[in-house]
Amino acid sequence: MKYDGVAVAVPVTVPYERFSDKSAQWWIARALKMLLDGSGLGKDQIDGLALSSFTLTPDTPVSVTQHLGLSPRWLDGIALGGASGVVALRRAARAVQTGDASVVACVAADTNRPESFRSLVTSFSRFAQDASYPYGGAGPNASFALLTDYYMRTYGATAEDFGKLAVSQRANASATPWSLLQKPLTLKNYLDARPIADPLRLFDCVMPCAGAEAFLVMRDDMAQDLGIPHARIMGTIERHNAFSEDVVQDKGGWSVDAAELWSSAGVGPKDTDFVQTYDDYPVISMLQFEDLGFCGKGEGPDFVRAHDFGVGGTFPHNTSGGQLSTGQAGAAGGHLGLVEGLRQLTGAAPNPVHLVNGIGLVSGFGMINYDRGLCSAAAILSRSSS
């Protein structure tokens, strides 16, 4: 079923901070205020809320309604980490389409204190607590090191290939005022950086921070009445715990559903003007290029060598700098690519891509439960005039 009658609008980012003494609730409030200011809507007009956060404890999404004085008739808490943005979009779009809500605020926010990342990874999941975290206490760095090690030996990727992605994202970040890592990065800087978990070096690893990302999903006619630029949804997918028999994760759930994604959108990989992958570590971007059909399985390294990932390049990618340069604000990391994609399609990006077809792809990946990420999702979006 298509997403007729649904508009996606008002992409906002609450500028990130490396550490924050504010709460997740504070960051959510800031994001909501930016959504109201950007749309001209009043708080009582927000009748749907999709919320993602790791640091609300002991609150839950419904606690936030009382904390911030909201009275939605539709509420969803989406605990899918890096896939939460696309999944919130899907859920909210269907709610708007069916009339269960008119305007859904999709908000992801997390705070970050010096000790909070350790406490998050220590008890991230039962399997992590029982069977991966006690093995070195390195959290996702170790998990992605193992994925990267396997991928490099199986498909011939080199440190330079991953470095190219990190370097080009840093160049994109230089035009993004809120990115936390602005210092120019060269391939030599990347290769010379200290080792974190072999084969990963410092600039392969996302930096935890505090921040918030948000957008609105609303009825198309409302967006037009309000006169706010908006995008449309051409197709979406999500998949959880795919390929559980694979010894080491070298493909994500996208490859189960990519054909369905492209056919539902009625376009192909060559029609996209940009791609925003989930990028806490470069290897996972390479898997997304392959699994979403931009190249074949194992062709990621050659694909990276063949393309220029800047906004003026042959394959504009993670145009705000991605998480590797802007930081990972918990669940907001799962909304960052979608919010940046919406900025590109609504003419609000500080680092704009030249739109030919007015189409972009955004993908998410999340929740290293034990040895691999369980959630994958993707959406193809278009600017409203196309």
Binding site: G136, A138, A142, L146, D149, Y150, A197, L200, Y370, D371
Partner: protein, 247 residues
């Protein structure tokens, strides 16, 4: 609460993971096998992920596997590992099927066969440790951990503590240790009267009363048990190994 996080790795485990401690106590490589469909699974679960059966038994399974991926950790969130870096772990494709994250003893090479054991780590928990199936000379990295001594393996002639000897897990662990020729085990009894019927079973068990409102390895726990506190006394070797069997 006092934490000894610089002297022990992460300690929290689910109840299902207790079978790993049993394996470490008995010297057997046991994993969960579904009694309905025979599927072997890891990490430990409360139901079979193949058929959803809930009759799961810890059974001896094949120790062999292939090392599929390896990393040498150079930065850890945990003080215990921070003092012992670099630390090497990997993913083993076990002959039984599941992928198993394991500590790697020196000499493990990615793509090569390894054999796995269940051993006790410094937190009193059972962990999977892999070593090369065949020795590879020249593949031993200098300074790298873990080493054999980072885990407890052979219980003979060792001073052993079982934190709760009256729990189901404690019974298994004590029986397992005694069956391996251990001369004495010190075991905690959280029972209020201090006399459980099972206490009679062997004069090789030295029972001590423990308080249930303190968790091992807090100073209060050692004080209540009237055992030398490794932190307070500065004697970190009151016991060679502690099996934390408290539910």
């Amino acid at each position: 609460m006092t934490t000894l996080s610089d002297s022990r790795p992460p300690h929290a485990r689910s109840a299902a993971a207790a079978g790993l401690i049993r394996g470490a106590a008995t010297g057997r490589f046991i994993l969960q096998r579904c009694q309905d469909c025979s599927n072997v699974q890891y990490p430990p679960r409360d139901a079979c992920h193949n058929c959803l059966g809930t009759e799961l038994a810890w059974e001896d399974v094949d120790r062999q596997g292939l090392l599929s991926a390896k990393t040498t950790i150079q930065a850890s969130n945990e003080p215990y590992f921070q003092k012992r870096l670099p630390w090497t772990v990997g993913i083993v494709a076990s002959a039984e099927g599941p992928s198993i994250v394991a500590h790697l003893l020196p000499g493990c090479v990615a793509g090569e066969p390894v054999v796995m054991d269940l051993r006790l780590d410094a937190a009193g928990r059972g962990v999977v440790v892999a070593q090369p199936a065949t020795t590879h000379l020249g593949s031993l990295a200098a300074n790298s951990r873990p080493l054999e001594d980072d885990f407890f393996q052979d219980p003979k002639n060792k001073r052993l503590l079982v934190t709760d000897g009256c729990s189901t897990l404690g019974h298994f662990v004590i029986a397992g240790l005694l069956s391996r020729g251990v001369t004495t085990v010190t075991a905690g009894c959280p029972g209020s009267d201090g006399i459980c019927p099972e206490h009679e079973q062997s004069d090789r068990v030295n029972w001590v009363r423990v308080a249930t409102d303190y968790a091992w390895p807090s100073e209060e726990w050692y004080l209540a048990a009237q055992l030398p506190n490794p932190k307070g006394t500065g004697d970190g070797h009151a016991f060679d190994a502690v099996f934390d069997t408290t539910a």
